[in-house]
Symmetry: C2
């Protein structure tokens, strides 16, 4: 009550002015080492913490970034989301940023939420998930000059698929340490913020992080091919979903590369277990006019579909009359707890790295706004997102019993 520790308290204790204390915190290089240490000691002794509110009022920056948390199953869903959120929170903390949540149903409501968050709380930036073609949110934010990053690539601008890592081999660095850079100083030095955010977002494309779904389904398909399967089927979502098309494409590419004819190997259904089961039964029972049998393995666009397929496969394998026919392999997507529970092989998204990538890109926009010069240095081993505005991460195939 009586003794809130302010910057003035510290200043008095260290026998310097307030501004010098401020400099020790925000621009240490301006202060003589001797003085600096004296001030730091005072801060330590008194247990001083800068008041974010006061700082924010002066600078207009809140050091808060916002993420939407949908009701459920929107874009990235279920337990996928909370791993992502955890990754965000953990990556943001060392840079002095915190994550606040907001909800909204539909793009319009979300834009209203932006108004509120920006107006009242001076939010510094946004992380969007579940982007889709024709997304009103990205346009709105870009037009307003609000810094943001999307988890999910920009589906508008198709070209320029930039890869995060180096080589294209199936071996992958499991832990890529996306941003070892920002551990250094406590805060970035004071900069003359000229408030020209539209310059930051120049170039027409916003920064994004995404997981290469096609690579995942391709890896899954190739694994099945390598195991001797030829006719590898695919159960995906109805056309129209960009993510869905991406995942399908990986499967198709792998089969084309192996010279397998795709016809009759594919079903497109809604993302539910029962639908997946029906589609699988349908596919597995197929015998075309030439007597070619149905697929002997299935790649699915989600774990839900895969779970359905797995049921159908089990039934199919034992049904004929006692003699177990060769087992139908199934591979899912997202490595949800369901997959872990039932032993389903699945493509796992590197969510922690994706989250760290989002934070790194966003913080670059926020703290390093106008350092265009710095972007010139190329891949000095600094970490994945070296000077990039986009980051396409490779998923990982988690192999279990099912394929």
């Amino acid at each position: 009550m009586a003794g809130r520790v302010t910057i003035a308290t510290v200043a008095h204790h260290a026998r310097v002015s307030r501004q010098t204390v401020s400099n020790v915190i925000n621009a240490p290089q301006l202060v003589r080492p001797e003085t600096r240490e004296r001030v730091r000691a005072a801060i330590e002794v008194l247990g001083y913490r800068v008041s974010q509110a006061a700082r924010q009022m002066r600078t207009g920056r809140s050091r808060l970034i916002a993420v939407r948390i949908g009701p459920a199953g929107d874009g990235i869903n279920g337990s996928v989301l909370d791993r992502f959120l955890h990754g965000l929170t953990e990556a943001a903390a060392p840079a002095g940023y915190r994550v606040v949540l907001y909800t909204a149903t539909g793009d319009d409501a979300e834009i209203a939420a932006y108004e509120e968050l920006l107006g009242a709380h001076d939010l510094d930036g946004f992380v969007l998930t579940g982007t889709h073609p024709g997304d009103a949110r990205t346009d709105w934010l870009a037009r307003r000059g609000v810094p943001f990053v999307t988890f999910g690539r920009n589906w508008e601008a198709q070209p320029e698929p930039v890869f995060g890592g180096g080589e294209h081999s199936p071996t992958q660095h499991s832990k890529a340490q996306p941003e070892p850079a920002f551990g250094g100083g406590e805060h970035s030095p004071t900069l003359n913020r000229e408030a020209q955010p539209e310059a930051v977002l120049g170039g027409g494309e916003h920064p994004w992080v995404d997981v290469d779904g096609a690579w995942g389904t391709r890896a899954a398909t190739e694994r099945l091919l390598a195991a001797g399967h030829r006719r590898v089927g695919f159960i995906g979502w109805p056309p129209g979903s960009a993510v869905g098309e991406d995942r399908r494409e990986g499967w198709a590419a792998a089969l084309r590369a192996a010279g397998v004819d795709l016809s009759g190997l594919e079903r497109r259904v809604d993302d539910r277990v029962a639908e997946g089961e029906r589609a699988a039964v349908d596919l597995l029972g197929t015998v075309d006019l030439l007597g070619t049998a149905g697929p002997s393995a299935l790649v699915c666009a989600s774990d839900s579909l895969a779970l359905g397929a797995l049921r159908a496969a089990t039934a199919h394998g034992t049904a004929p009359g006692g003699i177990a026919s060769p087992r139908i392999a199934v591979i899912g997507f997202d490595d949800t707890p369901v997959a872990q529970a039932v032993g389903l092989t699945s493509v796992s998204q590197p969510l922690t790295e994706a989250a760290a990538g989002c934070v790194a890109l966003l913080i670059r926009l926020l703290d390093g706004g106008d350092h265009d010069g710095d972007l010139d240095r190329e891949g000095e081993g600094e970490g994945d997102s070296g000077g990039r505005r986009h980051l396409l991460l490779r998923p990982r195939l988690v192999v279990r019993d099912s394929g």
Copy 2:
């Protein structure tokens, strides 16, 4: 840039003083309706939003509440957590509060996080999850006089099991609308905050919200008994977990009430699918000295265990030699996506209501601090958390194929 809309802008536009505008926002009853409307119109026209930073600096209140998001599977996990988070965010918004996330591994690290959050961001309150006996966090917060609510009852003080709803019958209101109260005014009227938080937490017990696990397992067990099963087994966690003991107790109580002997019907294992399967195989194969067969149905402390049990049950049901023995029923706990996917009957926690309850209790601490008088009125049909400091919610049994 040039024209940020401040309270002075609005005042000028509406031809009143700043204070009047402030009163319209914070204590509308002090302002003549005519003036009030004029000011509101000006706010609307100009798109004015109060600057939280400025308000916070003056009042010391940030209108931010914090929730920890653990790495995974800690206390409440997976998709359970993000439903809870969504509920919190949604319930907090109409009262003008926002949810910020933080991470910490272990109680000590979490306490360090409190220091930081309180010192720098002036956080108003905390929602803790996964409380356990001897929790250092609650002590620390209580000693500091920081408002907080736990999701998870206070395991220290065993007595006083207060029920949220009314009657104790198995029928339940599916949607209980936990807090229809706070939709009214935009903000609470200005109060003389005397900053005596220790008074708020007087009485030795902190507010909490919890789900009545025993009620859930009891309902599950009773359902199985009603379906004709007599020997209903239980697969739970090793002794030591308060939540685990609670869930076990519901099963035990139901069997005792039905006059069934519990011996040999129970296994206690770690919370993994394989362990659940092993335990179920073990239980189902049991034939004791008197020739009594093993259980014909299983209640489990989690969906993981139940999934294992379900596998064992399927195998058990078909193994003997062709003739399918009567199906073994299995019921899980938490209604995770896994349960939904495999058709497992499971006890579902009312997470949205729990979250709303947490927010309601916390906001009562924050906004209504010293209204001790108000607590006297008893259950006036105000909604669940009428004047209560504790809220024990009933779970719901979601019936699917498995039992």
